[in-house]
């Protein structure tokens, strides 16, 4: 167990736990306004303070974690669900027109500045969490397709695959039974990294008003709301900002730690 793995795992677990607990309990109702208690800095009643409507920031952060995690997680799911089969197919049919079409398609998606297209998609389909998921998910597809293909290609050269082929298994069955289990570690590590990028992307989209819509709380929109009040209530910007940083930092460290942990070769090579 490396330091990265422990620290990253702890930070990530903290955020996930906060999101899970929010289903059962939050200090206050995150949507209830209480104007007399507005703009309080952190204190004993409101641990992280209150916003301009007197809503409890701690509760909003906990419920907002649900939005961030849900959007990023489903976007990773889309990327893996579509990208991994594409990558496996491309590797199994290496050099064929199918491989060529899949990989050129990937290149094309990569060439689009992801943020611009995310903005385009959400602008066209309308702002909202679902469309943010689609926009972020689409850009996860080529990432997973590429790493799956390149890892699978090297596996196809190995003896145990040759043995499977000799025993009469088809390409699809070999991909599912022998290739996929051997690329799982790689996918977990990449999934963690894409998860953290998804959290950042979701925050950016909701900041410009294209993510989850009110009354669903989201960290990005909390920051957008805070912008005009940052001069007299800086905690409104500090609290959601730190929530995003802790989450992304935790996931990145977790990704690094998992990579070191799951790939023993790297443990020696990396310093």
């Amino acid at each position: 167990m490396t330091r990265n793995l422990i620290l990253g795992g702890a930070l990530s677990a903290l955020v996930v736990l906060a999101a899970l607990i929010s289903f059962l309990w939050t200090p206050y109702d995150h949507a209830v306004m209480n104007i007399p208690a507005k703009l309080q800095t952190p204190n004993a009643q409101h641990w992280l303070g209150t916003d301009h409507f007197g809503r409890d920031l701690m509760s909003m952060i906990m419920v907002g974690a649900r939005t961030s995690i849900a959007v990023a997680l489903v976007a990773v799911g889309i990327g893996m669900g579509v990208g991994v089969p594409l990558g496996l197919t491309a590797a199994a049919r290496k050099g064929s027109w199918l491989d060529e079409v899949i990989m050129r398609g990937n290149d094309l998606v990569f060439a689009f500045p992801s943020l611009v297209i995310a903005i385009l998609i959400t602008a066209v389909l309308g702002a909202g969490a679902i469309n943010a998921i689609i926009a972020i998910g689409i850009f996860n597809i080529p990432v997973f397709a590429r790493i799956t293909r390149s890892a699978a290609l090297s596996l196809w050269e190995r003896e145990f695959i040759l043995a499977a082929r000799v025993s009469g298994k088809g390409a699809a069955r070999i991909s599912a039974e022998h290739i996929l289990p051997n690329v799982t570690n790689l996918l977990i590590v990449q999934g963690t990294i894409q998860f953290s990028l998804g959290i950042l992307a979701e925050a950016g989209l909701s900041y410009v008003g294209l993510g989850a819509q009110p009354p669903t709380p989201s960290w990005g929109r909390m920051l957008a709301d805070a912008q005009t009040m940052v001069s007299f209530a800086p905690h409104l910007a500090l609290v959601p900002g730190c929530a995003i940083i802790v989450t992304v930092l935790g996931l990145n460290l977790l990704g690094d730690g998992l990579r070191d942990h799951l790939d023993p070769k790297l443990r020696v090579a990396r310093t």
Partner: protein, 315 residues
């Protein structure tokens, strides 16, 4: 080399063609008719029809796609539905903010990343290295628009060294323009600097393990001399690639930062156009950004092949 360049050029053109088709189709499915949007809910049906004809919206999709693409090839991006001015002019105006901002940010990120990366590589595994690597972890985790807000809070609101936003225009002088772009450029540069520092460090560490570095040391150069004379030059290849790729990200990433600082760049143009259903502007700006990314990638690939002939045989 020529064959390789032609092959890459062909794939560049193909990518651009597909990209333009995708952008056109995505915008086409957008709900809401620009003509009825512009005229409001009380407009007469024949007035709407007349405006549709004037904007060319009554033509078929194929005809409109072809006229959009052929127009762009000749530098004509069409006419904005809402402003009734040529889109090319609007984009050119905004580029004068977005492009210098991206260049400024790129310069800053390079200025930070080079010394930081070299320092970390030279002190590999020691305290200085750990501190730099920790800082880069933080750098990639901080959302740049939040960092931008913090910069405004500290340097604009509290210290009053900079304005909190807006752009005086280059007519006010280069100094004033650069001054207004400084905080946005720092915010934009932060995550890129963190990534570039990591690339610089790992490129240098890879080089330090090479045989020719051992030879350099063996012939009597100190560690530092070997690093500066032989290591840096060789480590530059991957670093320059990343810098090339970052430029297009900076141009696109400026969109959100421009929102924070109320800068009249391409990003704000896109958002205004989206809310006004000025689809021709949206299409053209997105196409321009995609064009920039694809072209920069193409140039980076070419430069790479020029430096390293082994890469030409690939693909």
């Amino acid at each position: 080399m020529l064959r390789y360049a032609l092959k890459r050029l062909l794939s560049l053109l193909l990518s651009l063609a597909v990209a333009s088709l995708v952008i056109f189709l995505v915008v086409e499915v957008a709900p809401g008719d620009p003509a009825s949007f512009m005229l409001g809910v009380n407009a007469q049906a024949d007035t709407v029809a007349a405006l549709r004809a004037e904007l060319g919206l009554d033509q078929g999709q194929v005809a409109r796609y072809l006229s959009w693409v052929t127009g762009m090839l000749g530098g004509d991006f069409g006419t904005s539905y809402t402003y009734r001015t040529p889109v090319a002019e609007m984009i050119a105006d905004r580029l004068w903010v977005s492009l210098p901002l991206a260049v400024y940010a790129l310069a800053l990120s390079t200025l930070i990343a080079f010394p930081a990366g070299i320092y970390a590589a030279a002190r590999r595994g020691r305290g200085g290295d750990m501190a730099v690597m920790g800082a880069t972890q933080l750098g990639v985790a901080v959302p740049n628009f939040w960092f931008a807000m913090m910069l405004v809070l500290i340097f604009a609101i509290n210290l009053r060294w900079f304005g909190a936003g807006g752009f005086p225009g280059w007519e006010a002088g280069i100094g004033a323009g650069l001054h207004a772009l400084t905080l946005p450029a720092i915010a934009l540069a932060l995550p890129q600097a963190a990534i570039l520092t990591r690339v610089m460090r790992s490129a240098l560490l890879d080089i330090l393990g090479e045989d020719f570095m051992r030879s350099a040391r063996a012939k009597g150069l100190s560690r530092r001399q070997a690093l500066w004379r032989h290591g840096l030059r060789n480590a530059l290849i991957p670093v320059l690639t990343i810098i090339g790729l970052q430029f297009s990200f900076l141009l696109a990433g400026a969109i959100i930062i421009e929102q924070v600082f109320y800068l009249p760049g391409l990003g704000r143009l896109v958002f205004q156009a989206i809310s006004a259903r000025d689809l021709i502007v949206v299409e053209s700006v997105v196409m321009l950004l995609v064009f920039a990314v694809i072209t920069v990638n193409f140039l980076v690939d070419l430069a790479y092949a020029l430096v390293d002939p082994r890469l030409r045989s690939r693909t």
